[in-house]
Amino acid sequence: MKKIGMLKDMIRSAFRQPVTELYPVERRPAAEDFRGMLHWNPEGCTGCALCVKDCPADAIELITIDKAAKRFVIRYHVDRCLFCGQCAYSCRFNCITLSNDEWELADLGRDNYTVLYGEPEDIEQFSLESEPEPDIEPA
């Protein structure tokens, strides 16, 4: 007699709920250590720029407002980011975290993909000083 290997599986599955999820309607919470969007906390940052040096995708820029007073602004390019987590690992002062709930990052334009992090007054000062730059593609 011919043996049909998957017959039992098929019959059993006919009486089961589908295993797929109705994604936009049902959302499974991301894993605890999921690596999503980067967040930077200016407290403790010494401006060593290890995160910038080690980033494989040139996604982080460190802008120095006042080196002596340790005032920095981080310009983060979400669209370039690989979410590898090396920056968070390289940072000795735990200033960088990767969020586990911000992972639906699709957008229609690239404008929202450049994010500035830092103390509000530093960001303001930086925005006043710098002229709007055209978005340069990484090499």
Partner: protein
């Protein structure tokens, strides 16, 4: 050659456009009627410049670049690179880090082999097996996401250790997942071994003897299915394979069925090894105390066993922050030559299965195949991969309809 033979002889080119293949290839199969009489392969189409790219990035950045050589065996590429760089820096990752690397390597092997089983079944027209293996593969993908934070590029390695620990909670998740997968793997093994229709596509197809396999320098499960005892994990244990050895799985038959069974048996062995490691996890640090940013000048080679076979890295440093040269040789390159040998004498309908049998990352094979009809009229008929696959399935359907046990 007389004119009738010329009229019957077709050359079927396959490729070279193939987004999923690490070594995108162009195959030309010469067929007489249904039978393949000759085959040739050309490689080197999708040159991404990764090796050159490594020279302009620092040692840490290269880790992530090289991880992206392959989407399926990402961890093992990073492992091969880190092991090489650690040799250059004369440091050794702590035992716990090595054990975690082995867990990831084996989890990756599980997901890669399950993926392959599904793809191979799909090319044989056995879509039920494809759907169910991929459903079950989600278990191991979820484990990887839970433990590392990402499904595909786990980025577990860093130079000198690993990024994250495997906590007790993570260990429980892994063990629970493995129990389910082990049960399913036993089931798939019996399906692959017993399903009458599937056996007609695999048993005795794509035969390669041990001598041929040795001569062609075949690696990985493809070699082990021909009885070649070749596994870097056993021959030259790296990371934690000294302490947690794997069993060498070989089969003497050398046909497609053997390639299925070797991979499925390796799965069962991977489950055992992961359980062994989790039961007896070494304690200690996850990284070395100090990893230099500049590596000493020197040349190293690093060999690891990727899911598809031996992966080879050559790294040369001149003492700077970036490598001077990195050469990567992936297992698919070694196995590609065997396709030419195996295909000869088989039906054209078997070609997709023989190609997929070496596991060449055929995850999204959809590209143009041009069939040059008889040279006299010079017409060209264009087939894509889906057509060839359909042709193979239809061919066997017709054949099985006429005669149920053609191989007996």
């Amino acid at each position: 050659m007389n004119p009738t033979q010329t009229a019957d002889r077709f050359i079927i080119p396959i490729g070279p456009q193939h987004p999923a293949l690490k070594e995108p290839g162009h195959f030309e199969f010469t067929v007489e009627g249904e039978t393949v009489t000759g085959a040739s392969v050309r490689l080197g189409y999708a040159h991404r410049g990764i090796e050159k790219g490594t020279e302009s990035r620092n040692w840490t950045q290269n880790l992530y670049l090289l991880e992206r050589v392959c989407g399926i065996c990402s961890h093992i590429h990073a492992t091969a690179y880190t092991l090489g760089v650690e040799q250059l820096a004369e440091v050794e990752a702590p035992p716990r880090a090595q054990a975690i690397r082995e867990i990831f390597a084996e989890l990756e092997r599980i997901h890669s082999h399950l993926l392959w089983l599904g793809v191979a079944a799909h090319d044989a027209g056995f879509d039920t097996l494809f759907m169910y293996t991929w459903r079950d593969r989600e278990t191991v993908m979820d484990i990887l996401e839970e433990v590392s934070g990402n499904r595909v590029h786990y980025s577990a390695n860093i130079l000198g250790g690993v990024k994250f620990d495997i906590t007790d909670k993570a260990a429980n998740t892994i063990l629970k997942g493995l129990d389910f997968l082990e049960e399913r793997t036993h089931h798939y093994r019996s399906v692959v071994n017993e399903d009458t229709f599937f056996l007609q596509r695999t048993r005795g197809v794509g035969l390669m003897t041990k001598e041929e396999a040795l001569r062609l320098g075949v690696v990985g499960p493809t070699a082990r299915a021909s009885g070649v005892e070749r596994d870097i994990r056993v021959d030259a244990p790296y990371i934690a394979y000294h302490d947690f050895p794997v069993n060498l799985v070989t089969l003497p038959t050398g046909d497609l069925e053997a390639r299925f069974l070797v991979r499925l048996d390796e799965l069962l062995d991977s489950y055992r090894v992961i359980r062994d490691i989790l039961n007896d996890m070494p304690e200690g640090e996850l990284t070395v105390k100090r990893m230099p940013r500049k590596m000493k000048p020197g040349e190293v080679i690093s060999r690891v066993e990727a899911p598809r076979g031996e992966l080879f890295y050559f790294i040369r440093s001149t003492g700077g922050e970036s490598p001077d040269r990195i050469k990567v040789r992936t297992p698919t390159l070694c196995n590609m030559g065997s396709v030419i040998k195996q295909a000869v004498g088989h039906n054209l309908a078997d070609v997709p299965m023989i190609l997929v049998g070496i596991d060449p990352c055929f995850s999204c094979n959809d590209r143009a195949v041009s069939i040059r009809e008889s040279r006299r009229n010079g017409q060209e008929k264009v087939w894509n991969w889906a057509d060839l696959r359909r042709y193979g399935i239809e061919f066997y359907r017709r054949k099985m309809g006429l005669e149920s046990s053609i191989l007996e």
